[in-house]
């Protein structure tokens, strides 16, 4: 068997893991599974595309590829702006929709349903704005480098792995070493007690949305750079995201990342062993297996 599947799996897994960290954070702090999270990935990718396009027209030098990579300075700059915009989008959706359900103390399942409606609206809005034709960050071709051991990767792919590592370590440190991280964990344990203890729950909720959306934006841009940008990229990744969040254990950031890598590797393995057309079923099989054997996931707490 060709060992290249390890590299492909790691990169796909990095994207899934970054998205799953956002899912697991919203799930543990806001207490509902957000079906619109996939759309944050797609919106992140398209926002970055739009901003990069605008920067490119301002100054042509920004689109000239930086030495080993396939994109120019326009993309990293656009990524930073897009992260902020995606965060604002998540906050806007929360303000318009979810906050009023929280105020009323609606059942969890109503929020799940609202997120379902929001995902439909957000995705079709992208289709309306950008049409369903695939778009690309760059048209440049890259030659994969030999890494030894039969593995090959393009400089872009290695950069993606690096960015993922930095993002996850940052989020992990934020959650464990800072005040806002401690506050977030306290709210996920017990929101009522946390607010009595003087924690600003609304600030925690805002941070959670922003953090989840930022990671989703990074994952969306990576997915767009790796393959292409379509309005459905987020929707197609939603099942792997949920599977990774549940496999990792709800609320666990390292768990979600590790589970994302596991799912990415399993998908890549299945593509080689069974065929690419069954790729999307892998996360379903893993999800069912987790629910049967260990519903709380690898690092989850027993309910």
């Amino acid at each position: 068997m060709n060992p290249q599947f390890i590299m492909d799996g790691l990169i796909a897994g990095a994207i899934i893991g970054l998205g799953a960290v956002g899912v697991t954070l919203t799930y543990s702090i806001l207490r509902f599974s957000n079906f619109a999270h996939g759309e944050l990935l797609s919106w992140g990718a398209y926002l970055a595309l739009a901003v990069a396009g605008a920067l490119g027209t301002l100054s042509a030098g920004l689109t000239k590829p930086i030495a080993p990579f396939s994109f120019g300075w326009a993309l990293p700059l656009a990524a930073v702006i897009a992260i902020g915009l995606t965060g604002l989008l998540a906050l806007a959706v929360d303000a318009l929709l979810f906050s009023s359900f929280r105020r009323r103390g609606s059942a969890i399942i109503i929020m799940v349903m609202a997120s379902f409606g929001a995902s439909l609206a957000l995705r079709s809005l992208l289709e309306f704005l950008f049409t369903s034709r695939p778009a690309y960050f760059t048209k440049a071709l890259q030659i994969a480098m030999k890494l030894g051991g039969g593995l090959r990767a393009t400089p872009d792919q290695l950069l993606m792995l690096g960015v993922t590592l930095v993002s996850v370590v940052t989020v992990h440190l934020l959650m464990t070493r800072t005040d806002i991280g401690r506050a977030m964990r306290a709210v996920s344990e017990n929101p009522a007690l946390a607010s009595i203890a003087g924690i600003d729950v609304r600030r925690v909720i805002r941070t959670t949305w922003f953090l989840g959306a930022a990671l989703a934006c990074v994952a969306g841009i990576m997915s767009g750079l790796l393959i292409q940008i379509r309005p459905y990229i987020g929707h197609d990744l939603l099942l792997p995201l949920f599977a990774a969040a549940i496999l990792g254990g709800i609320g666990s950031v390292p768990g979600a990342m590790l589970a994302g890598l596991i799912i990415g590797l399993c998908e890549a393995l299945a593509v080689q062993a069974v065929g690419a057309e069954w790729r999307a079923a892998v996360s379903f099989v893993i999800l069912i297996a987790v629910l049967l054997v260990r519903p709380r996931g690898l690092f989850g707490k027993a309910s």
Binding site: S33, F101, I110, V112, A114, F116, A118, L120, E127, W278
Partner: protein
Amino acid sequence: MTLDILAYAAFFLSMALTYAIICLGLNVQWGMTGLFNVGIAAFVAVGAYTSALLTTPPSPDRFGGFDLPIFVGWLGAAITSGLLSWAVGALTIRLRSDYLAIATFGIAVTVQLCMLNLQPITGGAFGIGFIPRPFAGLQENALLFSLANFGVMALVVLALYLGLEHLAKSPWGRVLRAIREDEMAAQALGKRPIRFRLQAFSLGGAIMGLAGAAQAHFIGFIAPDNYMPILTFQVWAMLIVGGSGNNRGAIAGAVLVWGLWALSAAAVSSFVPAEQQARAASLQIVAIGVGLCLMLLWRPRGLFGEVSPLTRLKSLRRAPSKE
């Protein structure tokens, strides 16, 4: 001309009634029991394909074609979809409430994959054609044919409506309501919530399968494209608009939303230039999504929400005193 309009009206209403059947199935799961199903399209598809395999004439390039009577196909469809929902429910109903939603979402993705890739059984992307249509003998007379089909759909919907209304008032339906309103109290009375929920989820799934079969035989052709996630959204919009928990609301919502959908689709295709039609169609979907959220925010009970037995009792008591 009037005959044409009448034939079209019968066709339109029959199509709306097939959605009404799905909606009734969803109402058993969501309205009566509070179980969230995001994979409606999958259960409908499984029913449609089961019935198609059972009733089509044998075909050399794929499995099956058993040439059985249509009635057997419909029964088979309900049983297969019911069993599938039972399996999904058995796995997830005992866990957190949104795990069921995630699992049904997974089922929808997986069934879509199976339809596309299990070519020897499902015919792949091209689907299955030549599904026998009820009253095929009347096909020369378009009006009579549509009216007969409409009659069958109306009978099925009526039978389901009466059956479900009876069920809702039966001890079984009362236990379901009790569990939905106060699980702890129902448990204290010795009812096992998981078992009742599982039964309701399977019953709802079976009704969706029946709807899939009815739709497949009405159109005569099925393909994976008919069972995209948008179907799930449409049915949810129908139930939420009509009012969950209310069977009459489910039927009315189905006819109303299907009417709006067909009307706006006709408007898009006649007023929008051809190259912009795909974009206009996506705006149509944005409208459904936003509409669903707005209904949840402003009128969570829908146009005809469930009348709770307590309010009914109060109004009964109040009525005689007014005289």
